[in-house]
Amino acid sequence: MNRALRLIRRRLIGSIAVLLIVITGTFLLLEAAPGDAVDAYVVSVGGDASMIEELRRRWGLDQSAATRFAVYISSLARLDLGHSVAFSRPNLDVILERLPDTLLLMGSATALSFCLGTFLGIVAGSRPGSFRDRFLSIGSLALYAVPGFWLGLVLIVIFSVQLRWLQLGGIETIASGKTGAPRALDIARHLVLPVASLGFIYLALYLRMMRVGMAEVWRMDFVLAARARGIGRRRIVLRHVARNALLPLVTMLGLQSAAMLGGSVVIESVFSVPGLGRLAQEAVAARDTPLLLGIILVSAVLVIAVNLAVDLLYAGLDPRVGSSGEAA
């Protein structure tokens, strides 16, 4: 436990530096965008010229860039992400309202791609060079070349237009009045295609990593030693080879969280899932830059949180992390 605490503390310090850089970046983009927060506020709430002057002074927008940056940081510290023009509400409220759907989509897609990808990677990597290894390897490469949004459209054509198995749009049937298990089932039915579109691409990534990793572990001496001890093939594959090959995949899980968040923007647009990604697209369409940058900040925090969780998971899986002479 001590090991985990030390790890968290070290990662948190690094994360704060990273977050400050991200904030600086969003500030620069905000400065580059036409119009400022007061323009946005006045457009959504209304007000005359004297009020605009007053607001500019009160929010420090008539000050130098350095002061404006300080004001920006201090309002962020109070969890104030500004005001959305498009929704006439605080940005943070709009974002938090949309976050759960995205988390559900990302979580399910991550679970699907990681579990199935790892499993197929073990199937391929348990006999390197065999037919099923080559088949899965080429197949995953082809899958990896497919854009998620296009896969989504193809799945719609097949399952919704041709076979009429699944209805489309949104994350649940609107005003269905369902609660509890029926509602969960309804949401699951709506999520099948978006999760498949988002997850299958990364499935290919995990499959390939697992396969390559297992091929490397097979060549290691401790596998030969396990064979010399007469350990059964099944146990060697799972407990010795796959167990070690899994470690880099867990790291990848953290690295891919940012990419998956980006990917869900397009997938949510294809399937009209009212999540963070769809909100980002709406912000772009409405030229609501502060909202878009708020989404980026929240995404960055989310990615940092996911990576922290992944680091802890990794520490649980690799006993060498955090001990003296650490290689991580």
Partner: protein
Amino acid sequence: MTTRLSIGNLGVRYRRDGQGVEALKHVDLDMEAGKCLAVIGESGSGKSTLALAIAGLLPAGTKFDGSIAWPGLGHAPLNGRDIGFVFQDPSASLNPVLPVGEQVAEVARTHLALTWREAFGLATDLLGRVRLPDPEAVARAYPHQLSGGQKQRVAIAAAIAARPSLLIADEATSALDTIVQAEIVALIGRLVTEDSMSLLFISHDIALAAQLADRIAVFRHGRLLEIGETGELLRSPAHSYTRSLIEASFGPAAEERG
């Protein structure tokens, strides 16, 4: 005296970078039950290939002729069950992410039809037998938490877990420093006697091997150069190469050790 293992006209060819490499040529060798045979040679002499060939661990695509017979065994030898194998590098021969107790227990569980609970109990006993202090704690430790000598003791415990009749120690001490080396050799010698195992002790160090071996076989360039009773071979080697090995090993190095 019963014969444990009989090797006849053994030849092994690897394919490396598209070329065939002859690792062993026309090797004839017998091992007696309960005795220790030391195989001495420099790297590239084929001595490790011999160990891997006996354990059936040669890499795929290796060409192999001649015979390895196990008189009196009645079935093909099973790794772990009939042959225990200790490798050179203890750091590389243990899985870094599994507790060492599990790595000893899995051998017992595989070959002795034990439950996991029984296998872990046996593993703890074995860790005590190889003289590791506080076996319960060691069983829960991971390889990186142990020293090189401790890891090699764990590897030995795993090798003898299913009470094999033959123990192969392939340069099992050469990655360790001199003091630990002597301890491990003594440990192997004691275990072999206690369990009346046959021992194939592979080493480049003829002086070290002489502490254990009943007979010594000298290999060079994939061929068996000569074989004889330990005392006789040391006193009157037939080959000048063997003599130079003895001089190199017992000469200045022996003084240093003494």
